[in-house]
Amino acid sequence: MQRQILKNRNKIALISGILIAIAFLSKWTMGNMHIFEWALIIASILGAAPIAIQAYQALRVKVVSIDVLVTIAVFGAFLIGNFEESAIVTFLFLFGAYLEQRTLNKTRSAIKELTEMAPETALKLMENGEFEEVDVDEVDVGDVLLVKTGAKVPVDGTVLSGEGSVNEASITGESIPVAKEKGSNVYAGTILDNGTIQIVADRVGEDTTFGKIIELVEEAQDSKSEAERFIDRFAKYYTPAVLVLSFIVWLISRNVELAITILVLGCPGALVIGVPVSNVAGIGNGARHGVLLKGSEVIGDFSRLNTMVFDKTGTLTMGNPSVAETEYYGDNIEEALGYLASIERESDHPLAKAVLEKIGETTFSPVENTEVIKGEGIVAAVNGHRVAVGNVALMEREQVELDEKARADIARFEKNGNSLVLTAVDGQLKILMGVSDQIRPGVKEDLQRLKKLGVRNLIMLSGDNQGTVDAVSRALGLTEAHGNMLPEDKAAYIKKLIEEEGRIVAFVGDGVNDSPSLASAHIGIAMGSGTDVAIETSDVVLMNSDFGRLPHALGLAKATARNMKQNIFIAVGVVLVLLTSLIFSDWMNMSIGMLVHEGSILAVILNGMRLLRYRLPRRYA
C-alpha cells in the first residue's frame, strides 16, 4: 500500500492538480463554495498521503526531513480549515519533485551516456567448445571470447585470431578506426567496426581501462568540497531548527497560520542541491569533450589557477626528435657516418633513432670497447679507430679541437633549438648534427588562449640544454623556461612556486617520469592516451593526449566554479527574501512560500544545466 502510493506520486500530483483546477473553476464560474471546499479537501488528503508516508519513514530512522516539515504544515492548515493552502502546498511539493526528477536526469545525462557504453554481455568459449552469451561479470581473466562486427569489446584483452578494425573513441576520444590482428591489444568499451576476432581476457570489469575511467568519473561527480561538507552538516541541524523555531513562534503568538508558514519557508532545498548539480553538469560536459575532471575540489583549484608549468618533450613538442641541421668537417665523411650509425644502432638514447633515420643506408662495422659517459655520450672502437659520439663536453674530454667555424656552427645550432650530436674520429671532429623536436601543431595558439583565460605565468621545465629550451620558449611566447632539470629538480621548483610565491600551480606532463611534479602541483594534468598511470596520478586527464583540450578544460572549470557560486547565491538569497517578506509584508503565505521554494530548486537545476552546453567563448578562441 505504502509503496503503491509512493510509486504513483506523479499521478497523484496530476489528480490533485485537476481537483484544484475544478475547485477554483466552480468557485469563480458558479460561485459554488460547496464543490470548492470538497475538491480541495480531497486534493489535500490525496496529496498529503505520499508526503506523510515519506515523513513517517524518515522519522522512523530519526531524521527530520523536509517531508516532516511539509506534513506538519499541511496538517496545521487542514486543522484550521484552510483547505486552499493545504491543497496547493501538497500539489506544488509533489509537482516540484516531479520537475526536479526530470531536470536532474538531464543534468546527469552526459555521464550516463558514458557509463552506458560499458559492455554488458560477452560471447564466452564454454567447455563444450561453443561460444555462449554470458553476463560480462561472469568473464574471468584467461577466458576466450568472440567479438563480432558491431559488438563491444567486453574486456581488455589480446587478439588470438582474426582481424578487424576497432573504434576506440570511448578510451582515446579519437574515432578513427584502429586495425587489430593477432597479438594486438583491445580495450573494453571499444567497438569492433568490422571483422571478427577472438580474444583472451587480460583484465576484466573494474580493472579495465574503461572501468577505471568510469569509476573515476562516478567518484568525481559525487566528491565533495569542504564547502559542501559544511552545507551538509548545516542541513542536518537546519531542518530540526526550523521545526523548533516554528513551535516557539506558535507558543508566543498562538498564530497557527504564521507557524506553519515558517515550516514551509524553512525548507532548505536549493542550498543542498545547488553545488552537486553544477558539479555533475560540469564534469559531464568535460567527459563529452575528452576532459576528465576529478571532482569539485579539483574544479575549485583549477578555476583559480595563475601558473602553468609544462614539461617540454612530449608535451609541448611532439616527442619524436629528428635531425634538422648537419655540418661536415674534413674528408672521409662517408666512413665517419658509417661509424656513427654503427654506434647509434646499439644505443637506446632517444636521439639515436633520429640520427639513424637521417643517415639511412650505410655500411655497418663491428663496435668494440663501448664506454658510456653519463650525460655526455659514447666512446668506442670501430675498425681500429677511436670514435666519440656526444655533446660538446665529451669533445672537450676527448681533447677534440673545435675550430672557429665549428664553434660558430655549434652556437647557431643551439640557438635554433637543437640538441647537438658531435662525432669525432681519432680526435678529429667529423660530423655535427642538430636534432630538434618539433613543436606540436596548435600549441602556440592554445597557450595564447590559456593566457587570455587568466594564466599569467607559462613556465617550461626541461632536461634539455638551455639553448634548446630558450629557442622553444621564444617560439611559443612562454614567460619562463629552464633547462638542464632532472625530474626531482622540476618537483622542487614547483614546490618553491607554491610555498614561497603562493601561486596556484598546474603541472602538465607525460605522467610517466613526471609523477613527482604531477603530485607536487595543485593540479596535475597528465597527457597520456588514457593510460592507467595518467588516470591515477593526475587530477585532470586529457584523453588522447590532446593538448588542444586544455583551454576548454580550464574554461569549463572556471564556468563550473562560477555556476556553483551562482547557485549558492540563488539558494541563500531566496531564503533571505522569504524570511524578510514574512516579517515585513502581508502577502506572504504558505502557498507562495512553497512556490518560491520549488521555483528556486528548479532555478539552480536549470542554471546547472547550462554547463552541459558550455563551449569556450569566442573571445578566448
Binding site: Q57, V61, V63, I66, L104, R108, E218, D222, P268, G269
Partner: protein
Amino acid sequence: MKAATIQLETLTCPSCMQKIEAAVKGLNGIEQDSVKVSFNTSKVKLNFDDDKISIEEIEKAITGVGYEVQKSRVKPV
C-alpha cells in the same frame, strides 16, 4: 567484512541522502565510517560484517525508507 555497492533508483531529493544514511547506519554489523551515499550516481557504498547481517537485510532497510534497490554487488574486502 564485505564491501557492498548498492544501486538505487534515481535519487532526486536532497533529504534522501540523510534518510538512507540514517537507515543504513542504524543497522547492526555496518562499519559506520564506510557508509557513503552518492547523490548523483544514486549509489550506496558500505562495508558490512557478513556474520552479523546479510545484504538482503541492508536492502530491506533502504526499501523501508522508500527507495527501490535496483542491483547490489558484494565483494570481499
